[in-house]
Structure formats: C-alpha cells, structure tokens
C-alpha cells in the first residue's frame, strides 16, 4: 500500500513537470505503436506476439540532456487455446480465450545523448504502476482479475529528426511488474516506433 501511495504522488506530480511553465524548456510529446513480446509468467498465460499496443510519452527537460516525464501505454496480449485446465478437482477443456490488458502508468527520467537538432539516442528509467487485467473465457464462463502492479521498465531508444520539431522514434522497453493480488510477476518487452513532437530537442 505504501508503494501505491508513493506511485500516486509521483503520478500526480509528474504532469507538473510537463506543464508549459516556460516556452524555452525543451518539451517532448511522442506517440508510438508498441507491439510486445510476452515473457515468463505473461508468456505462460498468453504466449502470442502482441500486435496491439500503443504508447504516449511526455518529457520535459530539467537539465541539459536530462528530462523527466510520464509514460502511458496499452498492450493487449491474447491467446486462444484448448489445453486442459485443472481447478477445484475438475479437469476442464474447451476453447479458451485468454487476454491480458496492460496499462502502464510510469514516471521516468531520461538521459539524451547527442546534440539538439541531431539524432538523439537516449536511455530511460521508468517506474510506476501497471494496471493489468487477466481474463480467461471458456464456454459461457469468464474469469477475470484486475490488479495494480508496482513495476519498472528500463528503456533505450533513439529519436532522429524528420522536420523541425518533429522526430521519428524507435525504442525498446523491458517491462517488469511485481506480483499483485493472486497474479504472479509479469514481464514483457515492447518495441516502439512512432513520432515525437519535439521542442528544443
């Protein structure tokens, strides 16, 4: 519970860093398509490559080459299987439709390499919460559980200028969410490709 409170404080304060306090402060808004690869426990539940995924990032410089920001995302992992499930002394089979909807809400710190106007490789440390819904549909039954997981996500990426104040973005992020409720720890990797509206980067 302490961790969740701490996250909420960070999340509430993070947008302030992106507020337009000064026009000269470098600011970054990016939107990326983020397909994902499930790992470990996430892969056990849904082992298919996730084509559905999007991410939105806001960053604001606090020092030369250093920015803080907020990252929001949505990944949808799915799998259809007919494998047998054992529970409550029963063995149950049928077409199962499994889903994981993951909504990362992360505060972050980024360090940018390179110079303004050029290609900008960067590394980012994300920390925050993952709202994850696990759902299993079988027959006319549906079992689902939603938990708020504490998690973190190291990220590397590069922004390359396309036009003034517009850059293409490529990034890779390892997402790790600690266990919450009756759900084990979850992990997956996303690969982002998109555009960033950059002012001063």
């Amino acid at each position: 519970m302490h961790a969740i409170r701490w996250i909420m404080v960070v999340l509430l304060l993070a947008p302030l860093a992106a507020a337009p306090a000064r026009a000269q402060t470098p600011t970054w808004y990016s939107f990326t398509w983020q397909p994902g690869v499930p790992l470990s426990n996430t892969k056990e539940f849904t082992n298919e490559f996730a084509w559905r995924g999007v991410g939105f990032d806001i960053k604001r410089a606090i020092k030369p080459n250093v920015a803080v920001g907020l990252s929001l995302g949505w990944q949808v992992f799915t799998q259809q299987t007919d494998q047998v499930v054992s529970a409550f002394g029963l063995d149950i089979s049928g077409d199962q439709f499994r889903y994981i909807n993951s909504f990362p809400i992360l505060a972050n710190v980024s360090y940018f390499f390179g110079k303004e106007g050029g290609a900008r490789p960067y590394v980012t440390a994300n920390v925050g919460t993952y709202v994850m819904e696990h759902q299993l549909d079988i027959g006319l039954y549906s079992i689902h559980e939603t938990n708020w997981h504490f998690g973190f996500a190291p990220e590397v990426g590069i922004a390359f200028p396309l036009r003034p104040n517009l850059a293409g973005v490529l990034n890779g992020r390892y997402n790790y969410a600690l266990a919450a409720g009756s759900t084990n720890d979850q992990s997956y990797v996303t690969f982002g490709v998109g555009l960033a509206w950059t002012h001063g980067y």
């Binding site: 559905r52 293409g168 555009l195």
Partner: protein, 228 residues
Amino acid sequence: MKHSFTLRWFATCYGVILLALGGGTALLTACHPDEPTAVSELDVVATAHDDTTNFAGITTYAMPDSVVEIVPPESVATTPPFNHAFDRQILDSVASKLNALGYTRLPSYDAANPPDVVVTIKGIVVRNTDIYVSYPWWGYWGWWGWPCCYGPGWGVGYPIVTATQYDVGTVAVDMWDVRRSDPVAMRVPAVWTAALRGLVEGSPLDTPARIDQAINRAFDQSPYLGHP
C-alpha cells in the same frame, strides 16, 4: 515556413497515417479481440474422478441403451425437451471409447454376475433468461422560451430493457462402481463423471461433430481410465 515536397516530408506523412491506422485498429478491436465466432467454440467438457479408484482393475461394464432425460423438479414447466435425435451417436461413441480402452461391455446388468461398473448417460437442457436494464444518455438541443432558456446538453434517456434467452444442454456420462455399492444406504459411488456442456444453438448439421469433439475431449483428458 515554406516546406518543399521531399522524401522526408513524404515519410513523415506516411508515418502519421500508419500510426493513425494502427492506433485506430487497436482501439476498434478493443480489449478483448478474437472472441468466439462459432457456437462450437463455447462447448466445454469437465471431468472428475475418484483418486482412490484403480481403473486398471475395472474390466467389465454395463450401459443402458438409452440417454435418460433429466428435468429439474423446480422447472418442469419451463425446461425445454432434450433432443433424442443424437442418442445413438452418443451411446455408440462412449461405448466405442470404453471398449478401445480395454473395458468389456456386458450385454445387460445381471445381478448374479454383475459388471464392475455401470455407465449411465443423462441429458438435460436448461433455459436461461437474462434481463438487462440500461439508461442511455441522450443529447438534446437548446430551448428558448419563458422564463428563459437552457442550452444543449445531455440527459438520462428512457430505460432500455434487453432480454436474452438461451438454452444450454448438458450430457452427463457417469461411471458407477457397483463393486463398492452400499445396499443398506442405497448408495453407489461414482468414480468418473464427464459433463459435456454447450449451447443448444447453431446448425443441426454441426451437432454430430460437436458431440464427437466433446466425447473425444472427455476421454483425452482422462488418461487414468486406460488399461496398461
């Protein structure tokens, strides 16, 4: 600022369009894509067995040559009739599976020379009715009149009542261990049971395949029934 048409500009526009299409697709398919599209995908088979039973020690069985229809006493008036058109297929398929596993079917139940187990097959159909009430929001245009006016906005609309009705059929296959029957308590322990459950919907032409698939699943997920 003047922009000339360059490859970079074209790539930018193309990227924006791709992102919009990708994002739109993700949103349209929502949180739970790839949901069931056929009635057969809603069929479920559940099995349970008695862990203390040594199925290898069971060699003979008897099975009534009919599927018995069960009607819950509390819903005699509303329970739809069980369709017996597929009884023969169900009975033959179950017997075929048991015979393939090494069990020998006796032609009838003989109290003087009883089988090890009796296998019974029951059918039941239950009608389910779900009623939903929703209060959609509706928009309205502004109105000008005495004493004044109000602008456009949103309000709660009339409730919409939605009712859905569907029938669910279950075929239950039970194996009773008559060797351990208790004549005083009039009890016979069930050592294996399989419930084949599905919607009583869809084309009748698909029903035989659905029955075969369900019976196959019941035996496939019960490997302990096999004789070494």
